[in-house]
Symmetry: C2
Subunit: 593 residues, 2 copies
């Protein structure tokens, strides 16, 4: 049975040593002192370790089943769901006006990482609800909000997102689902949606579907898409449940991972739906949900890496094979633990340096979202909008890679189901695909975000790096060599890539798009390099201030040093690839592949 230990200490480091959240001017953050966040994280950690983690393998092995339209979730999921509700976790950052706890989104991310590490498939049931909550909260009428939000925040009802149809996923302009206006102001929704996570299940009393559909007579393509609430059960005036709506689960997808989550075909046969936001402006409303969902998926990616690493490390410290090349390390044992071997350490440090950097990056991003919302800070809004595809794409690609590396640490045991590593690999794999494949993320980054508002946000990012580099000049010799200089070099690579796109962009859009994926990774590395430089500096300052846990802070610096020396050099490779331009990619005729 795989282990999971909630990384409370490391999260506290990110929140307080690095981000210094209690000292910011973000409304609500003043309440987040060390003691408060410690208490919240410990509670979420306990739930994750004791309730969710033990169900992860059960969920994988049992999966979900569909019988007569009813979807059964794996054993124990219902009880865990009730414990999540009882703890108030589902409405942690939700609007107090509707019964939420009104905490910052940041805390939702921190606790969310734990829930995902311990049981990703299970956590999707509430994760989707959160996304649906956000879209309704941001765009629906007060009447609809009053009806739906309180019970979704409570978890009594859950939510879904319905975008994809069999013939279109990425290209939503092609959707065929129809919404016909009815005399009572509602719409009759007809069509079929696929890959609907948590589309049907037995954990909540009602399921609130958010559905993209086209009202006849509207504009062609994405400009004619509207968003609708379609409840599984109609809701009576008094809030009680009425008739079953004409929406049903037509099948469950058989898939590589996340077996514990029901991936449904949903059929709408004239189901009653209610317009959310303006007619034909459904994409905008959906984007509220998708941007949040993309950050959530980035978090899923590295969170699977977190638990995979913990298991790889435990194995490497126990498994005895061979002897250290520089001399026997454990003379009382028949062989040394494999963590003595350089290549095993390389593998573990690759994992560790990524996940700790990723955590900092994700939490920083969450803080930016809070700043954007709570301070109505347009600069923060712009920056997080730019970074969203990087967080989604980079953290899921590297998160998956981390699970594969962790599996490798275990050798043959990693391939067996018994040790559980292979499940982390299979579960993590979906994060590179859903909420827009990582290729689509790179297109969003290069084709849209980079030039948004005249390139203002990417300039702001470079300014931020530049300021940090300027401020830390001459501060510490080792820091300068191990962190500041590598960050400077990596940032220069990123700027060169941006420059290449600008020069090519006008005359040859394919040149930029041929390099978009590499650009996303290059950007991701610079972000993690920045995080590591900031973390190393924070750790050094804590040490200088006489922090008691010296080993923790020294380890932090050493782990960062690994990242800068061994991961960051990837930026040069990505730049070279980008600068090779469109020709190697576009030259071949499609027929000759």
């Amino acid at each position: 049975m795989p282990i999971y230990n909630a990384p409370v200490k490391d999260m506290q480091f990110v929140l307080h040593d690095l981000l210094k959240i209690a000292e910011t001017d973000i409304p609500g953050y003043d309440e987040l002192d060390r003691e408060t966040t410690q208490a919240i994280l410990e509670e979420a950690g306990k739930l994750s370790e004791q309730v969710l983690a033990p169900l992860n393998k059960v969920g994988d092995e049992q999966g979900c089943s569909l019988e007569n339209g009813v979807v059964r979730t794996p054993e124990g999921f219902d009880d865990a769901y009730e414990q999540m509700r009882a703890g108030g976790w589902m409405g942690l950052d939700a609007d107090p006006e509707y019964g939420g706890q009104g905490m910052p989104y940041l805390m939702n991310c921190a606790t969310g990482e734990m829930f995902v590490s311990s049981n990703m498939a299970f956590n999707m049931y509430q994760g989707l609800t959160h996304g649906a909550y956000s879209a309704i909260h941001a765009h629906a009428s007060d009447e609809l909000k009053a009806v739906y939000l309180p019970k979704m925040i409570d978890g009594e009802w859950s939510g879904t997102m319905n975008l994809t149809e069999p013939h279109c996923g990425t290209d939503l302009g092609l959707i065929r689902t129809k919404a016909e206006p009815q005399d009572d102001g509602s719409y009759a929704i007809t069509g079929s949606k696929i890959w609907i996570s948590a589309g049907e299940h037995d954990l909540s009393k009602n399921i609130i579907h958010l559905v993209l559909a086209k009202v006849p007579g509207g504009p062609e393509g994405v400009k004619g898409i509207s968003l609708f609430i379609v409840p599984k059960f109609m809701v009576n005036e008094d809030g009680s449940l009425g008739d079953r709506n004409a929406v049903s689960c037509g099948g469950l997808e058989s898939k590589m991972g996340i077996h514990g989550n029901a991936t449904c075909v949903m059929n709408y046969d004239g189901a009653k739906g209610f317009l959310v936001g303006e007619l034909h402006k459904g994409m905008r409303a959906m984007f509220t949900m998708m941007n949040e969902a993309r950050l959530g998926v980035g978090l899923q990616g590295y969170a699977q890496g977190v638990v995979a690493y913990q298991n790889a490390l435990a194995f490497a410290q126990e498994r005895l094979q061979g002897r250290a090349v520089t001399g026997v390390a454990a003379p009382d044992k028949p062989a040394d633990p494999i963590i003595v071997h350089p290549d095993v350490r390389r593998n573990l440090l690759h994992q560790k340096s990524f996940i700790e950097g990723a955590r900092a990056f994700a939490f920083w991003g969450a803080m930016m979202i809070d700043r954007a919302h709570r301070n109505e800070d347009a600069a923060a809004e712009g920056l997080i909008s730019l970074l969203t595809p990087v967080i989604k794409g980079f953290l899921t690609d590297k998160g998956f890679e981390t699970t594969v590396l962790a599996q490798q640490t275990l050798g043959g045991s990693g391939f067996t189901t018994e040790w559980g590593l292979e499940q982390f690999v299979r579960d993590a794999r979906i994060t590179m695909i859903y909420e827009g494949t990582n290729g689509i993320q790179s297109l969003d980054l290069v084709g849209r975000k980079l030039g948004a508002d005249g390139g203002k946000h990417v300039m702001a990012f470079f300014e931020l790096v530049k300021t940090f580099i300027a401020e830390t000049k001459g501060e510490d010799e080792a820091f300068d060599r191990d962190f500041r200089e590598p960050l400077k070099a990596a940032s220069k690579d990123l700027q060169a890539a941006g420059m290449f796109f600008m020069q090519q962009g006008m005359k040859n859009p394919n040149a930029a798009l041929s390099g978009s994926y590499d650009f996303l990774h290059l950007f991701g590395h610079v972000c993690l390099g920045l995080m590591w430089a900031q973390m190393a500096r924070a750790a050094r300052k804590s040490l200088e201030a006489g922090a008691s846990d010296e080993a923790f802070y020294r380890t932090k610096i050493a782990t960062g040093r690994y990242y800068m020396a061994r991961q960051l050099p990837a930026t040069g490779m990505h730049l070279k690839r980008i600068e090779s331009g469109a020709e190697p990619v576009m030259e071949l005729d499609a027929a000759n592949f």
Copy 2:
């Protein structure tokens, strides 16, 4: 249902345009003219496409079952096995003295790639037999050979390799299985072995286990290991089967992939065994098997990439989403096929340029083995010994990566079991682990092979590259720019890395071992860069000679150009990582990870 098309044309290109096999001085190669190899490859292709490929998903879904000691393979495997036997494929390159067809090993690899692409789990039953055949053929007494080889070559009997025990895989010095000498000259074998592929099944009439065990009183560690033949059924004087031997399957492993192959726990309870080769020299005999097996696993790695790529390509040519950024490509359709999008092309070309380069590398390696054996060429033996860990490690890491990229091409469909891509990913994953994890391969490369015979073999490799670069100077301007110069630069990186190891090696072995994994990849890229440069040159020469299939040769050059521009730049990154030395890897205390 996934597709599979045997790549006969591309194999013919490698065999004849690139390697010019019929023109070499390797005994037996003179018979391999274009027509002969075409006929062999077409036959193997037909079997792969029509018989093996349709069973791949069946095998994955049904898996193997164990009841009362009997292992049942998936439906249809028995019939396919008989067709493989009937076609003489199992003894294609086996010794004619024992009933084999005596073809070069190269042809075994070429046909083997097809068998693996179409059904990896199935092909392991005969693959393991081949390895066992080779060890017996090279090391056993004439009596044992006469008894066992003919029926193994025929496929009536199959073979296995028994190395791993629960407490040791990599560190075989720790094995506990005992072999007690008996009065009749045989040995009584007692112990338990795990992860025995094809250890028990219903496809062959007898199973010949090759088992590592220790004879009491022998030297400690690996120097006290001997190799034994332990048949499932004893063999009577007349060759008929006698009593069941005291060896049995104690359980089947539940695992991530290759479900169609039975991975067994094998229990030996005083089973009768026969010594192969000299007492206490079992490791040497086992290495004969392992080296061949390692090349076979490298082949498995890229072969899974081959079939995955074919399916990704078919999807990309059919799936309609979005429009080409430079203008509508398919005006008669609601959207363009996704192959118009630069990032989809990048992904496909990454796959294509790897697998075609890998095929050339593997076939070249197989030719070296033939040269080593058939010409008793020590230089060829030394070079292939050096390259074996590169072929195993690089082709499986990149092969797995290729299946993941191919899965990504399909978006959400790639995650469903229906489309079959996820099976290729799960099956390919084991290749990075078994026959020595890729970390172990890198240790073998840097710790053993690099310095073997005074570094003679790596010098020979550099000489080979240097000669090619010198010979092709000024031959063609485009070739110079796109192939010759990048190869030169990559080779320089490899030499710099080797130099770094040499300088560090004496005083700090950890510095070399901390960079071993990167060195393996750096080496692999240079090998594929060399292959691509040679292929591009061969294609150009064929074009100049007026070859009829112009599109094929032009595509070959364009695909190579992609590899050089977009994959080869990885060498710089690997060099930087290597040159960062031991400190980032060794600094942390094991307790502080």
